[in-house]
Amino acid sequence: MAERSFAKEVEKLRLTAGEEFAGEGILAVTKALLQSGVGYVAGYQGAPISHLMDVLADARDILEELGVRFEASASEATAAATLAASVHYPIRGAVTFKAPVGTNVASDALANLASGGVTGGALVIVGEDYGEGSSIMQERSHAFAMKSQIWLLDPRPNLPSIVDSVEHGFALSEASNTPVMLQMRIRACHVHGRFVAKDNRRPPTTVVDALESPRRDTARIVLPPASFVHEHEKIDIRWPAAIDYVKRHNLNEVFGPAESAVGIVLQGGLYNGVIRALQRLGLADAGGDSRIPLYVLNVAYPLIEDEFLTFCAGKQAVLVVEEGQPNYIEQAFGAMLHKQASETKLAGKDPFPMAGEYTGQVMLDGLRGFLAAHAPDLLSDRDRSPNRAVVPVDDATLSQNVPVRPAGFCIGCPERPIFAAMKLVEKDLGPHHVAADIGCHLFSILPPFSIGATTMGYGLGPASSAALNGSAKKRSISVIGDGGFWHNGLSSGIGNAVFNKNDGVIMIVDNYYSAATGGQDILSSRATNRSRSTRHPIETAVRGVGVTWVRTVDRTYDVNRMKAVLEEALTTDEPGPKVIVASSECMLNRQRREKPLVAAAMTRGERVVKQRFGVDEDICTGDHACIRLSGCPSLSVKRLDDPLRDDPVASIDNSCVGCGNCGEVADAAVLCPSFWRADIVHNPSRWERFAAGLRLRVIGWLQERRARRRLSFGAEVA
């Protein structure tokens, strides 16, 4: 069950010709795929394209009606390999994943696909996770397009342009027998906008048709001598065909006046940012009409030499606005101008910084710098020599007091107690090398846990501690999530550890979902899924590849047990990898699943027990050790209205879901007795109510008896 239901949005996929579609960029892509007659779609979820996968999963009925096959791939490599269906068959196929992580994982399949070429249009939609809010290393997908020769589309970030480029992407792929990559920047994926829809098209050839009349052509298989031929084909046939298509359909766009001393070349995805900067410099109007000529590369690769040189003709200087590094586009254009012995000066990474996102301020500064150097008369006096730069207020008071807000585990997250246990074990056995992995559990590297030394890629936690094995007195601990485990960790990590007789400890965090990407089901999910096969236990798989020491903790909140198992794993004499499967359901998903059921049961008058935690503020001394072992958003602090108290005390707010971590940690770490758990029984039985009433009366009598013998200070009643 995915984090967000798209049941309502899916209806937008049924819009017919002429109707207006309004919604998120990534939904528009989904609709564009159906309008293009796509035959199959596959992918691996992850920001920012998770919604595309979730929408497709919820759109099962529409896809079935159209005869479109949808796969939730095991990995990006699987997704890319799925495009093999377009090698021999004239079927349009699209796959999607997060770039560049996904591109890295998929590169083997992508390279083979690009070598043999395709018959049906093959589209790789990559969600560019770059800049603010990105969760991964900052690299460009552009390099992959260049090395494997895959055409790269980077459309202007508005819905009509994005939708057009999906349709052109398929056609371009077919015209040049080459897979095409469509790059979607993170904000474009989530941009809310509109476009006029077309009718959905049934694929002319479906995957069923292909299965029933199979084809093969050895010339398309990547094996010598065909592979040598492919390299020539790429240059001699496919490249010219692509250039021809791009030019014929004007995929790249030119805006602004025909004559000008300067011009700007930009990646399509940066168009809105460039226009905004021009607007702020008084050089463009609201509608984007620019006083400086713009050459917009909706096709970022291949670059089209004559288009570019024509644009440069007669201009003194041209600026390349290209985000990220290396500056492949600028380098290529530089070579073109040089060979032409052109007089036109090329600027790019000189007014702009070599690295980093082109935010609004960077864009403004870069354009102003370029114009000041090459066309100062276009700038106002103020912009030519600004008296005061607009810079963010760097007030020491703000930097001291505005708190950093690192991402952290959700309220009631079952992974929190795992790392609390790990921290407590470190107190007893000393610090260990901890190899982290990608997934929610990676938040352990941030405060308050601060556990984990490296993260080498999705599912590669155990693999990344492979070398750290030997006769040391300590063992390495590797963390991996259930998502990463099924993605590749079973073979790259666990199987590898068994085979190489690695002695380390592997902690598999099993929260029943691929939680970090939005709660999608995976092989070991416990839910019944109509269209997928679930409930395949991780422990069985681990034993299947030869691990003998496996412990499953099926309630991670049991911090004492977690701690004991971890200590055993770190100290046992048994050889080979020690695998702990720590299982508890993702609390976000669990709440989403249970809340409506509990509410319904309560209204039906059934007995329901709700739990929550609290802190006795008189007993709490304000040391906050409990918070250093938790970080739960619902466990906070508050200042007491008491002049005798210096420090704020712990406090639990209404968002508490009663997971139990606070109490378990207080117990396991021998912290303090201030935590209490309330079990609130709704619709109790008659007997239960009677017994509780009796107890309350006796206890009340005792309380009054003692209160009578002392002074009572009313202020203590909250």
């Binding site: 007091n401 708190p403 001394t621 005798l644």
Partner: protein, 520 residues
């Protein structure tokens, strides 16, 4: 071509595009606060009024409790379709909505708030960052200082506790912020059209509309003094203690002694301290408390604002009301506490409440409960202690709503009457006497240092390991006394050492600081 855009030549600052008719709005929120909801509402309201609107966000990991920014641009429909940016730029945002006070500070920090253009609507409530919460001691950021910056950063500032406004109506902050945005009048839409958006959303409509109205009201009604200023600290009123006439009379004699025998500036603190120790033990303990403070106060200097007395009033009370098993059991079995739990847990008449306490006694705690001699005998024998520890040291989840466990704790709480004869009390008394002796010895020679010695009591807190760690930090910090005694800046140094000790859980920074002091 004609530039409809901003003409930089005759305006004050570099480039805003306001003249182009595009309104730019950024929402700064914390993951989980519902920033996406208000963003969707704003877009829907703009579109309902025939405007073109574009919103973007960067969800992903930031959603999990991180700081998030949502960004909306909008322009009147009918004209050419405007090109809109996908992210806010410093110096170019018309409206900033901050769903928490420090997020408003962050907006200023990032340059989104400018005095020339920006209307800032911010909630004054705090959601503490993890480093603020996890700091041992007080790590909370200075809200007043940030508010002061907000006051001079925006063209127009609207501040109110939007969180409480919404919660009081059973809703969430997005609704009250939406109401405040509507009332601010910075967007040319009618109240009705905002409300229609909420109605169309179809979820929790009644509560959302009520919170919307509260948000609207707080902006439109200028009489509410809390709106622009952070709420002033309430002066704590001390209600009359309830008890027998005899006890009340005895208590009032002590109050009278405070009012006649101590400097006026220290009286509030003394009253609070007296209340605490009498509540902790009995009237006699209160008398002893005043005796102890009086001894210190006798050495006070008139020209120093009776600082020594004030601090003694505070920390002697805290030291005397040390946290022991009896105290915990007593507090957990009081009627007032039962009421508070019921209230916090939201238990109604028709529900049954079960309360579980998390206790983890160790041999030390049990030993502390024994009569002084017996306890000391046992304490001196590590093997016996280890045996006792094996017997008692484990987590105990205790249901205090059941008669059995209530009675156990009730009985433990009742040991209060014997507390003065028990081992722990002997330890604590000795510790307090040593501490006060140092203060008294220091005060005539170095007043500031004596004040700081009193304040070092703050280092001792918590239970079990935390308590032991606090004691050891206290000892380490005070070990620097001989070096500081005759230095005029001795008090400052001790304060610095204490601050380091407070922040430093493991104690390594403290070692470094002590070395520095040694080298003075």
């Amino acid at each position: 071509m004609t530039a409809i855009g901003f003409d930089a030549s005759d305006a004050g600052e570099v480039g805003t595009t306001q003249e182009a008719g595009v309104i730019k709005l950024a929402i700064l929120a914390i993951g989980g606060q519902g920033g996406g909801v208000i963003t969707d509402w704003i877009v829907a309201t703009a579109e309902r009024n025939g405007w073109l609107a574009q919103s973007t966000s960067v969800p992903g990991v930031a959603q999990r409790t991180g700081a998030t920014i949502y960004y909306v641009e909008m322009a009147p429909g009918g004209g050419p379709v405007p090109v809109m940016a996908l992210a806010p730029a410093p110096g170019d945002v018309d409206i900033v909505v901050a769903a928490e006070l420090m997020e408003a500070g962050r907006a200023v920090q990032r340059g989104f708030v400018t005095p020339e253009t920006t209307t800032l609507i911010a909630s004054t409530h705090r959601a503490y960052g993890i480093l603020e919460k996890s700091a041992p001691g007080d790590g909370i950021g200075d809200a007043a200082a940030v508010t002061e910056i907000l006051l001079r950063s925006a063209k127009r500032l609207i501040l109110a506790d939007m969180e409480t406004l919404a919660r009081d109506k059973g809703s969430v902050i997005s609704a009250s912020l939406f109401g405040a945005l509507a009332a601010a009048g910075v967007l040319p839409f009618s109240r009705e059209s905002y409300e229609q958006t909420i109605r169309d959303s179809g979820k929790g409509v009644t509560a959302s509309l009520a919170a919307f109205a509260a948000g609207w009201q707080t902006v439109r009604d200028p009489q509410d003094p809390d709106r622009l200023e952070p709420r002033p600290q309430k002066v704590r009123s001390r209600p009359e203690p309830v008890g027998t006439a005899e006890l009340s009379a005895a208590y009032h004699r002590l109050v009278h002694r405070i009012e006649t025998g101590f400097p006026e500036v220290a009286q509030d603190m003394l009253l609070a301290g007296l209340e605490k120790v009498v509540d902790y033990q009995d009237i006699g303990y209160g008398r002893q408390y005043l005796d102890r403070v009086a001894e210190v106060s006798a050495l006070d200097a008139v020209d120093r604002g009776a600082l020594l007395t004030v601090e003694a009033a505070k920390y002697v009370a805290n030291a005397m009301a040390y946290d022991d098993v009896i105290r915990v059991a007593d507090l957990k079995t009081r009627g007032s506490r039962a009421l508070r739990v019921r209230e916090e847990a939201g238990v109604g008449e028709k529900q049954v409440l079960k309360v579980t306490e998390y206790m983890h006694p160790r041999a030390e705690e049990v030993c502390g409960l024994l009569p002084r001699r017996l306890g000391a005998f046992l304490e001196a024998r590590p093997k016996w202690m280890a045996r006792l520890d094996r017997l008692v040291n484990r987590g105990r989840r205790v249901r205090t709503d059941t008669l059995f466990w209530f009675l156990v704790l009730y009985t433990l709480g009742g040991l209060r009457l014997w507390r003065r004869r028990l081992l722990r009390h002997a330890h604590e008394t000795q510790h307090i006497e040593n501490w006060l002796d140092r203060v008294k010895a220091t005060a005539p020679r170095n007043y500031a240092l004596a004040v700081e010695i009193l304040r070092c009591r703050r280092l001792i807190k918590g239970y079990s390991d935390t308590h032991a760690r606090g004691l050891s930090k206290y000892d380490k910090v005070l070990s620097s006394l001989p070096a500081l005694l005759d230095r005029s800046d001795g008090g400052d140094w001790l304060r610095r050492l204490r601050d380091v000790a407070l922040k430093d859980e493991e104690g390594s920074d403290l070692e470094g600081a002590l070395k520095t002091v040694e080298s003075l």
